[in-house]
Structures are given as C-alpha cells and as structure tokens.
C-alpha cells in the first residue's frame, strides 16, 4: 500500500496525484485486495455528468488509497482540495454474528461518528465474502444476514452503501461479476463525491470572487483558491478544465489592469506596480514554478512574476493537451500584453530590462516547444513560431543599440555600465537550464558580452527569421527583417553587405507601389551606394530621390546638388560618360513640329519644339539636349505619312507623351488598357442568340509574363545610340517644371526620319530617354519627279494581256500638254494599246504635288479562281522584261523591270501498251486565274506520213443549263412555317452559246437570235410541299451564254423540319408537227402569270396566303384548247446541272393552336 503517512505539505506535482480514498476496517483484508483494485479501477471509463450545463465527460478514475485517520478529514474553512478525501471505505470480511456484534459493529459506529462529526457523507462499506472462510466456521449464518445487519444498523434507507465483494481473489465468473458491480459502485460514488465537493468548492470560490469589490479582497488569495480547483482538474486529467481556471484568472487580472488604467484602481493592484527589479524571463521547464507560486502566495509577486507563473501553468496544460502552437501564439500575446500593462500601470522599468525579459522569454518558449515536437512538426508550423523569432531578433537588436554594441567603436563606459546593470537583473542562471549549452540565459549573457558575440547572435537570429519568413511565403516580412539587417550593416560600416538587403526590399516595394517605403529605402540605398563608390548607381538613385515628392525640399535639393557637383567635378577629366534614365530627371510631355504635318521638302527647315518637365527641385544647367534620329530611305511616299498624320497627330501637330513612370509606379499602369468587344453567337439554323459575351482582343499583351527585372535602380538597360542624324540644342537651363526647347534642322536627304532617343547632358552625365513612344517621325521628300510602274494584279502572268499602272509623281515638274512617256520594250512583251487611250490625270487635292495615272495595257481581266483551297505549293517560273521609258523631265531613260510568271507547267510522257504508243501531255495551271483549255491537239512538225496521231480525249458532255431553286420564307418572317405560303424561285441559266447539240426541232431563229423551248416542272415526290398555282410551264430560252430565266411560284410546306427542296425538272419542248406551233407556244408561256422573264420586275408578294390555285389549272387549260399535245424530250444526262440538289430548308411548325374536338360518350 502506497498510502503516504501524512499528505501535508501540499502536493506539487499534480500529475502524480490521485484523489484520496481512505480505508478503514480490516487493513490486512484491504492490503490483499489492493493490487487487484488499483489495477481494475482505471480500466473502464465512467461518464461524469457535470453541473452548470457543462458537457459530460468520460473519465478514467484512479485513486490514492490511504489508511483512514481522523486528521485527514478537512476542518472547517480549509479550502485545500488536493488533500481532500473524496471517499471513505470500510472493509470487513466478517461473517460471524458474534464477531460482528463484539467488534465490527463498534468499530463501524466509531468510524461513522467521526465521519458525521466532519459532515462527510461519502462513504461505503464493503463486505468481503470468502467461501473458504465460511466453511471453516460451524456457526455460520447465511451471508445475507451480516450484510442485512450492517444495512440495518448503518445504511439507513441507503442500502446501496453496503457492497458485497465475493471471493475477490478467485478466478470465477461469480468473482468477476461481483468485482464489476463493486467497481461500478466505487466509481459512481467517487464521481458523485467529485460533483458534490467540487460543486461546493466552486460555489464558495464564486462567492469569494463576487466579493472582489470589497476593500480587503486580495487577488493573490483568490488566485490560490481557484488554482486549487485547477490542480484538482489536472489531477483528474481534465486539463481543459484546469486551463479554463487559469484563463479565468488571466482574464480577471487583465480586466483589473485595464480598469486601473481607466482610473478605477484596486489597492491590491498597487503592489504589482512595484518597480521591476528582476527580468529573468519565463521558466517553462518545470510543471510548477514553486518559487513564483510562493511569491504569489506571500503576496510578494511583481506583475512579471504573476504573469510568468500564470503563463507557465497555461503552457504546461497546453502541452498536456498537445497544443504547442497555441503556446507560441499565446506567448506572443503575453509578451506584448505585459509590455503594455507595465506601461499602463506606469511601472518603472530600467531601460533594456523589458527587452531582456522578452528576449529570454521568446527563446524559452521556442526551446520548450522544440523540446516536445519533432523537427518535421516544427518545420510545418513555422507560421506559429516565426513571430517569436522576429520578436526576439527585434529585442536583441534594440539591446545591441542600447548597449553600444552596434557601432564601429564599440561600447563606451556608459554603455558598459548599462550592460552590467542589465546583466545584474538577470540574476543567476536557474538550475534547470544550468546544464543546457544553448539556454536563453547563456545566449543573452554571451550576446551582451562583446561586439563580436553580439554580431554573431544577432546575425544568427536575423538569418533564421528571414529564412523562416521566406519558407512560409512571408516575403514582405522577410524583406522587412532584411532591412533591419541592412541598417545594422550600415552601422557596422559594411555597406557591401547592406546593399543586397536594401535592393531586395526596394524591389519588393517598387513592385507593389508603396511610395513611402520606396523613398525611405532608396535614401538608405543612396547612402549605401555612396559608401560603396557606385557612382552610376548613386547618381541614378540621387536623381530618383531629387525628383521624389515625398522628400522635403531640402532633401531633394541635396540629392540634386550631389548630381551637379559630380558633374562639375568630372568636366576637367573627360572620361567615361554616365548614362542615366531621363524619366527621373525630366519628363517629355509633348512634341510639336513646324510645319505641323512634319513633312518638309529637301532644303526646307523643320523645327521641333519639345516640352520637357524637369523633376529637379532647382534649375539645372544642361549643356546640350539632343535627339537621336534614325533615317530610312523608304518607299513611303508622303502619302503614308499623311495617312499616319491623320491617325496619330492632333490637328495642331502636337504629339503628347504619356506620363511615363510616375513617381509612384503602380503595377496596373504598366499594362495596356483592355480592348474589349461584344460578341454574339447566333444559332446557324434559326438565327437565335446562342451565346453572348465579351472578347478581349489584346490578351496576348495582358497575359504576357511581367518581366521581373523591371527595377528602375539598375541602369543597365539604357544604351546611348550613336547616329549620324542628331537634333541638338545647346546651353539650356531647365527650370523646375515645364521647359520648352526648340530644335531646328534643315532637311537634307529625302526619306523618313524617326526620333529615337532624347538625351540631356550635364557634364559627363547623360540623361537618356531610350525610346520615344508613341513613335515620332518626320518626312523629307524630294522634289524630283518620279515614275512608278506596277501591275494591277498581284503579279504579272506571262502570255495573257494584263493591265499595268503607271504612276507619275511630278514633283516640281509641271505636266505640259503633249507630254508623253515613251516606252521602248523588249520584243517578247507586247503592248496592247488602244489608240484612243489617253492618260487621265488624277490630282491629289490633299497633296502639294500632282500625279498622273494611266492604264496602258488593256484587255479584259480574267476571272479569279474561287479557290478555297490553298494555293498549290509549286512556284511559277518567272521571266523579267525590261521596259525603258523616256520621260519628258529627264534626258535619261528609266529602265523598269517587269516580272512575269509563267502560269502553266507542262509535262509529257510516252506510254506503251503492246505495240501502241500513247503520248500523255499534262498542262497544269499554277496561277490563281481560271483558264479554259480548248482544241488541244498534237501536231507533228516533220509531217511524217507514217505517224498518225489519234486524239483520245473524250468529248466531255457539255452542260447547257444550270437550274437553281431556292425557297424563301414569306416576307417579314425569318423561317418557313408549315401551312404558310413560301415562294419558290427557280432560275434557269444557259451556260453556253449555240452548240451543235442545240440544233434540233426546238430551236428557232429570228434575226440571228436563237432560242429554244424548254419546259420546266416542279415535282415533289416526297409530298413535303404543296405547289400552289402552276407547277410547270414552257419557256423560250435564248441560246446565249448567261441568258437566265427566273420562275417564281408558291409552295406550302406540309411538315416541319429540314425539308429537301422539290425537284425541278427540265425538258426539251418539241412542238407537235404543226405549222402554227410557234404561235401556240408563245401563248402558252405568256399566259402563265406565275413566271417572269429575266429582269422582269417581280410581282409584289401577296399579303396573305389567299392565292392558291389548284395545280390542275395548267393541265385543264391545255386540254381546253383541244390541240394536239407537243412532245417532251428529256435532256441528255449532263446537260442540266441542278445547282440546288440536296439543299434543305428549315421549316418550323406553325404556332397556331388547333382545336381538337373530343367527344365522350
């Protein structure tokens, strides 16, 4: 039995405590049962129902069984809970009435009386039954009798207070059953006792808390009471509940501090306001810091002591609950909170003391967490701990500055005194960490011991913080720590180490457009670059700073003077130039040409006036402003420029430049504006709107990867262009704000001049605008007359007549009457010139020069092939023909080469079959024009009589007629509907002139005008359509190519859906052998009003569908005459081409509601 003799003084290690249960009666009996009991009790959890609506919990019970003593029972007013016996058990195995009466009953009575005296009601009597024992006795009574007696004597109405445990040490099912019943009873009794006693305790505690406004109330006393409850919960392994107790104490204290700050002071709080004398940080390595606890108990704790103790307990419980990351988060809150509370309570704190405390505490928390987590867990929870790392870094930094450890010279005597004082406040190292090499205490002590040690520790911490921030994607935070580091390096006069951090931070601020941080970091960078002697970078940064409106006027002037003084220093030794971007020095606002259209003739004077907005805070003397000009002799005549001018230049000839790179670059400004267009997609069948949306046409511009290296701080990108053509303006003083600078130039060579770069020189410093955008050009034109010859088509083809255009730009030459262009050409090229063809002079009103055009070569233009397929890959062979032209303005001939392509490729081959030989000639057209090959035959030039050439080309059937049918919905509607009339348009086109096959009976001739009679017929075999009116008719078709007949008739769709068009059939109409047949025939087509001749004005469509005559009309009409029927002859296959075969037309069902009559019988 491990019952301690005396449970006082109070237990400390609550985890090792168990609720106390006392045992009275037969100690030997209990000792024999104890091993089984202590093993079985925690085996099964029990549900603990809680008061105040708290959620029930499953709890594994354990107990500390101690021998019953009266001293164990709490006296009145004793609030100790840990030592409170929750249950009293009396053990007996008496089975003899005599024995019972003689000793046990008395003993029980005594026990009961003691309990009653302490008003303890949590007790249990266990009667152990032993069969073996029973058998030995002769005067045994039934088991029940003793139990009944006890129940009768002691358990007044509570018979369940007496429990029987049968044969506890045997291994039988009865034993097991009896154990189970007993254990359940024991657990239930224990829990009931907890509920009751803890409830009572809590009530008392609350009462005490309610008295907190009374004068004598002490927070420390209350703290001890509530902590007792926390201890009990912790003992019961209810860490969550234990934590709640501490959190309540924490909140209560915080509220007092806040109230104190608001003027509502509690006098007990003044004690916590005593000056801070010790700052040795949190101690988290012991479950309970007894030293601090005693301080609180004795009411001697300072604010930091109380906070430290509270947090160490919360930390212990959170770690039991496996919530280490909450420890980190709470630690940061605690440290910040303490600093605030000390400020609020106006506690006097020596300088640096809090920094020490915070630093030590941060590291202590981090080491504590590291002690209970593995590396992988720590690495995946950096987000929780990085705050503590940064905070520690920050604090160490300020300690370093305070103790003079961050300077070149090292600490002075005052600094050293301060350091000594700070170290004194740390006290001696605690025994728990004394053996730890990297303990926070040792680290701090070492860091404050020397400049070198400080540097090492500070860099370690900073790098760790940067690395951690970076690893979890907190780049901004990393940069910010990096900036601190840069500041440190600058103090240590190591600008080369500082630079990379400053550049990194600046890049980040620039990318996100944070103006003030940019300015500040740039200022630091300027200093750094100056120390490093990076002249070019320093000057560039200076120019940026000089133009930065976030700096004061004086600061800006300072940086401006830096540039100017550098420039003046370097003038005597002409060395390398320093090229800087212009935009931070001055901005180009606009540009104006005189003449305003920027077109001058050779020798003319052009002036360019620019507005340059100086960003400098003071006037700057600029030696020279130059504009680099790129010259190109281009084919552009002035006309392209004129077109460009209308597009790009405002009427007054001024070009505005967008304000480039404003001092606050916002990333969105660098992107081009969205070009959005509406988009409608209609269904192809019924033209209903399927989809609508917005299309961005410049996605490629917007989604382009942003160049990450758009840093303005690197001047590498700017390159000076050296060109022969330069506009110059010397000796300019740029005043702050807008300055007008005028360049004058005399135009020399004709061509296009593009303004490329703008450069302002101040000593060896060149401020360069590398590209002018939008592009600016001026044009110089020559006044010499010019002649240009170009084909009207894309290319000239050899062998066919084509048109060529001559363009004369007269320039200064005036065209006189009778002036002519004299063409001398090679023999291979014929000029087909109509005698009456004269040049027509078109003059371009807009232009100062006139030009003449004339078509010289003339012939009908061939049809272009409607080729959807891509051009055949073969290239056409070309030949050049030179034309020499004598112009009236020149004594020299102009020679122009015209390139002709050969449109055909011919191949031939000799093939054999037996004794026969076949010659195959292939002619392939490579051009885009349609050619018709006719009358192909082979000729033997030697007229060899033995050779007989037999053409094998089969005569291809000649298509004579093209029939095209089309069904149109009624006017005003989009679609054909079932039951409504639609018009059927049939057009019959003759494709060729008179041919041999036409010569038959149907052909008639009058005045060399031939015509033939045809009969058309509209038939719908599939009964999709009802043809209204005449479905057939006879027409007289002129026998000439492209003669067309159009026939109009009305049809009505009977079904909905995609219906094939009705067939249109064409027959030759041969008159009956009769003399006056022609007369009759004429009538027969004239009378049909449903048909119209070509170019006949179409009848106005009827409003409704009323006109619907039977299709029998024609037939009956024919019969009426009683004349012999003419003959119809089918046209041979191939002569008729049905262009609309296979076409379908969409018919939608009519919307009419049909009444369906239903009769019900």
């Amino acid at each position: 039995m491990d019952a301690p003799e005396a449970p006082l003084p109070p237990v400390i290690y609550t985890m090792e405590n168990k609720p106390i249960v006392t045992c009275a009666g037969d100690q030997n009996l209990f000792t024999s049962i104890y091993p089984t009991l202590s093993q079985q009790l925690p085996r099964e959890p029990m549900e603990w129902r809680r008061s105040y609506g708290r959620a029930p919990k499953m709890i594994h019970l354990e107990s500390n069984f101690v021998q019953f003593k009266e001293e164990l029972l709490p006296k009145d007013g004793n609030k100790a809970l840990l030592t409170f016996p929750f249950l009293h058990i009396y053990w007996t195995e008496c089975c003899d009435t005599e024995v019972y009466k003689a000793t046990v009953k008395d003993d029980l009575t005594k026990w009961q009386n003691v309990l009653k005296a302490h008003s303890s009601v949590d007790w249990l009597i266990v009667v152990v039954e032993n069969d073996a024992k029973k058998k030995n006795k002769t005067n045994i009574l039934p088991r029940t009798s003793i139990v009944d007696k006890i129940r009768n004597d002691f358990c007044n109405k509570q018979s369940d207070r007496c429990v029987v445990l049968s044969d506890p040490l045997k291994d039988s099912s009865r034993t097991q059953e009896s154990w189970n019943a007993f254990l359940t009873k024991l657990r239930t009794s224990l829990l009931m006792s907890f509920t009751k006693n803890l409830g009572k305790f809590e009530d008392d505690m609350r009462t005490l808390r309610e008295k907190r406004t009374e004068p004598g109330w002490s927070f420390c006393d209350y703290f001890m009471v509530q902590e007792e409850l926390a201890f009990v919960f912790e003992m019961l392994q209810q860490f969550e509940d234990a934590l709640v107790q501490y959190d309540e104490l924490d909140a209560l204290f915080s509220q007092y501090v806040v109230n104190f700050g608001a003027g509502d002071g509690a006098n007990w709080l003044t004690f916590f306001c005593q000056p801070v004398k010790s700052w040795n940080g949190l101690i988290l390595r012991k479950p309970i810091d007894m030293e601090k606890r005693e301080l609180i108990q004795r009411q001697e704790a300072t604010l930091l002591d109380l906070r430290s103790y509270l947090f160490s307990r919360q930390c212990t419980l959170l770690l039991f609950l496996q919530r280490p990351w909450e420890v980190a988060q709470r630690a940061l809150e605690l440290l910040h909170g303490c600093v605030q509370e000390l400020k609020l309570l106006e506690v006097s704190v020596p300088p640096g003391a809090l920094d020490c405390w915070v630093f030590l505490s941060c590291l202590e928390v981090l080491q504590r967490i590291e002690g209970c987590c593995d590396r992988a867990q720590i690495d995946s929870n950096i987000a929780h701990t990085v705050g503590l790392w940064s905070y520690a870094t920050e604090k160490l930094k300020s300690l370093g500055y305070l103790c003079g450890l961050v300077s070149e010279k090292g600490p002075d005597s005052e600094d050293l005194n301060r350091t000594v004082d700070l170290l004194a406040g740390l006290g001696a190292e605690r025994p728990e960490t004394a053996n730890t090499a990297q303990s926070p205490y040792k680290k701090l002590k070492e860091a404050l011991s020397s400049v070198e040690a400080f540097e090492k520790h500070y860099l370690d911490l900073s790098h760790a913080a940067i690395e951690m921030h970076t690893s979890i994607g907190r780049l901004r935070s990393a940069k910010f720590v990096g900036k601190d580091l840069a500041e440190f390096y600058m103090r240590k006069k190591s600008p080369q180490k500082a630079e990379v951090y400053l550049q990194g931070a600046l890049k980040n601020y620039l990318a996100e457009g944070w103006a003030l941080p940019i300015t500040h970091t740039r200022k630091q960078l300027a200093e750094c670059q100056k120390h490093l002697g990076q002249t070019e970078n320093y000057l560039q940064t200076s120019s940026l700073l000089a133009s930065d409106h976030h700096l004061t006027e004086d600061e800006r002037k300072h940086f401006c003077r830096e540039i100017l003084s550098f420039a003046s220093r370097q003038t005597d030794s002409p060395g390398q130039k320093i090229v800087l971007p212009l935009h931070c020095f001055a901005q180009l606002r606009d540009l104006h040409f005189t003449p305003s259209n920027a077109v001058v003739h050779v020798g003319g004077v052009l002036s360019v006036e620019i507005t340059l907005c100086s960003q400098m805070p003071m006037p700057v003397q600029v030696e020279q402003v130059t504009i680099n000009v790129h010259f190109s002799i281009d084919k552009n005549n002035y006309r392209k420029t004129a077109e460009w001018l209308t597009k790009h230049k405002t009427s007054n000839g001024t070009i505005n430049f967008p304000t480039e790179t404003s001092p606050l670059p916002a990333p969105q400004n660098n992107l081009p504006a969205l070009e959005l267009y509406e988009m409608f997609e209609r269904s192809p069948s019924d033209n209903s709107l399927n989809t609508t949306g917005i299309i961005c046409k410049n996605v490629h511009m917007l989604l382009r990867r942003q160049e990450s290296s758009t840093s303005l701080e690197t001047s590498s990108g700017v390159a000076l262009e050296d060109g022969a053509h330069v506009l110059k303006c010397s000796g300019v003083t740029l005043e702050p704000g807008a300055n007008r600078i005028t360049f004058r130039t005399q135009a020399r060579e004709p061509g296009t001049y593009t303004l490329r770069q703008l450069c302002a020189s101040v000593g060896p410093v060149r401020f360069v605008l590398p590209h002018l955008y939008p592009p600016v050009q001026y044009d110089v034109y020559s006044q010499e007359p010019q002649l240009r010859v170009e084909p009207l088509a894309d290319s000239l083809l050899a062998g066919i007549p084509q048109k060529v255009k001559f363009t004369v730009t007269t320039g200064h030459y005036t065209v006189k009457n009778g002036d002519s262009l004299q063409l001398s050409n090679a023999e291979a090229m014929l000029i087909l010139c109509h005698a009456e063809n004269r040049a027509v002079i078109y003059s371009n009103t807009r232009a100062p020069v006139t030009g003449g055009e004339s078509s010289v070569l003339g012939m009908t233009e061939s049809h272009r092939k409607h080729k959807d397929t891509q051009k055949a890959g073969q290239c056409m062979a070309t030949t050049d023909h030179k034309v020499s032209i004598d112009c009236p303005w020149s004594i020299y001939s102009t020679v122009i080469a015209l390139t002709f392509s050969v449109p055909f490729r011919t191949t031939h081959s000799l093939l054999s079959a037996g004794t026969r030989k076949y010659i195959q000639v292939c002619v392939q057209n490579l051009s885009e024009l349609d050619f018709e090959l006719s009358d192909g035959h082979l000729v033997d030039p030697d007229s060899n009589a033995d050779l007989r050439l037999v053409p094998l080309n089969a005569k291809s059937p000649q298509t004579l007629y093209n029939v095209r049918a089309e069904i149109l919905p009624p006017s005003g509607t989009e679609h054909c509907r079932t039951g409504s009339l639609c018009s059927l348009e049939v057009s019959i086109t003759r494709l060729s002139d008179l041919l041999e096959v036409d010569k038959d009976e149907a052909l008639t001739e009058s005045d060399e005008y031939f015509s033939t009679k045809l009969m058309y017929e509209v038939v719908d075999n599939s009964s999709n359509w009802a043809v209204c009116g005449k479905s057939s008719g006879v027409i007289s078709m002129p026998v000439a190519a492209r003669a067309t007949h159009r026939v109009h008739m009305e049809v009505m769709p009977l079904f909905a859906g995609y219906l094939p068009l009705p067939d249109v059939r064409l027959f030759k109409y041969l008159p009956h052998h009769s003399a006056h047949s022609s007369q009759l025939d004429a009538d027969s087509w004239i009378e049909s009003d449903g048909l119209s001749v070509d170019k006949h004005v179409d009848e106005q469509p009827d409003g409704g569908g009323g006109r619907c005559r039977g299709s029998a009309h024609l037939a009956s009409g024919g019969e009426h005459r009683g004349l012999p029927m003419p003959r119809l002859q089918a046209l041979p296959p191939g002569q008729v081409f049905n262009a609309s075969v296979g076409t379908q037309v969409l018919v939608i069902p009519s919307k009419d509601d049909h009444v369906l009559e239903v009769s019900v019988t």
Partner: protein, 171 residues
C-alpha cells in the same frame, strides 16, 4: 480610434493610406505592407469557401508591442487594413468590425462615383486625419487635376457632381 487606415488594391499597391498622427507615417506604411503577408495567408486559407459564406473580416493579422493590425478583404480582393493602438482596450472585435463595415461602405461609394477610375489612388476629402471621425472617411472625390492630367479626352470635371445613391450591399 485607429491610428492608420489603408485600402489596398488587389495587386497590393495602396489605394489609400492615411495615418494619424502623421509623423509616424512611414512606420505605418511598413507595418501595413508587412501585414499583407498575413492577409495573403488568410485569404489563401479561406480558399474556395463559397463567396456568400465567406467572412470578409480577417480578424487580427498580427499584434506588435504597441499596435494591433486588423484586416478585411472585399470579394474583389481589395484589402482594408487598420492599425489600432494596443493600449486602446476599449476597441473590441465588434467595434473593429463595424469600422471596417463603414470603411467598406465608403469604399463602395467611391467605386460608384462615376468620376473614379477603378484602380486609381483614392483621394480623401476628409483632409484632416486627426478629426474625431477618423478613420471613417465620408467622401472621397478624385481630384480634377488628376483626371485632366491622365486622359486628355475627358472634359473638365464638373464641380460638385451629385453623389451616387448608395448601392444595395449585402453587408
């Protein structure tokens, strides 16, 4: 009362940032900028939660010794950041929330202003940052100068254009 208020564009550049007192402006700029790290983290943690279920208020971004930084993000990923003095214990979560809500309303007003070009920096008409109502800025009117400078096509800014009716917002 907040000591610094910032409206930050989706692309993380400041649309509006103002602090009181002004002498520590730079510090607050750094602080707000750094806090975007946590804003980004919180937004990505929010993940694919349904838009209407999403909480716009991001809560405490991070505390420092002297200040607490709170965040809020609109559905269009415009961020509001507010820096509050740590010693100001009177400001509870609810007050912060309601300040953000007012800020959001003001921002919505600005967006409804036909003369405001989304993405431009916001100019506040409440010129004195130390006014008792800070940070709740009542009207933000883009200045005419800016309009004229940027786009030559625009006509002169009409004086005192009517304020747009407040839109129906879900917040």
């Amino acid at each position: 009362m907040a000591v610094c208020v910032a409206v930050i564009a989706k692309e993380n550049y400041p649309l509006y940032i103002r602090s009181a007192p002004t002498e520590n402006e730079l510090k607050f700029h750094y602080m707000v900028h750094t806090s975007l790290d946590v804003v980004d983290e919180k937004i990505s943690a929010m993940g694919k939660a349904l838009v209407d279920q999403r909480e716009l208020y991001l809560g405490l971004l991070y505390p420092t010794e002297d200040y607490k930084v709170y965040g809020y993000v609109t559905n269009s990923k415009v961020k509001f950041v507010m820096v509050v003095d740590s010693s100001n214990t009177a400001l509870r979560d609810n007050e912060i929330r309601s300040m953000f809500r007012k800020l959001h309303n003001s921002y919505t007003d600005v967006m409804c202003n036909p003369f405001y070009n989304p993405g431009d920096r916001i100019q506040s008409s409440g010129s004195d940052a130390a006014e008792p109502g800070f940070p709740v800025i009542t009207t933000w009117i883009p200045t005419c100068e800016k309009r004229m400078g940027g786009r030559p096509g625009h006509g002169p800014c009409p004086l005192g254009f009517p304020r747009m009716p407040r839109p129906l917002t879900a917040w």
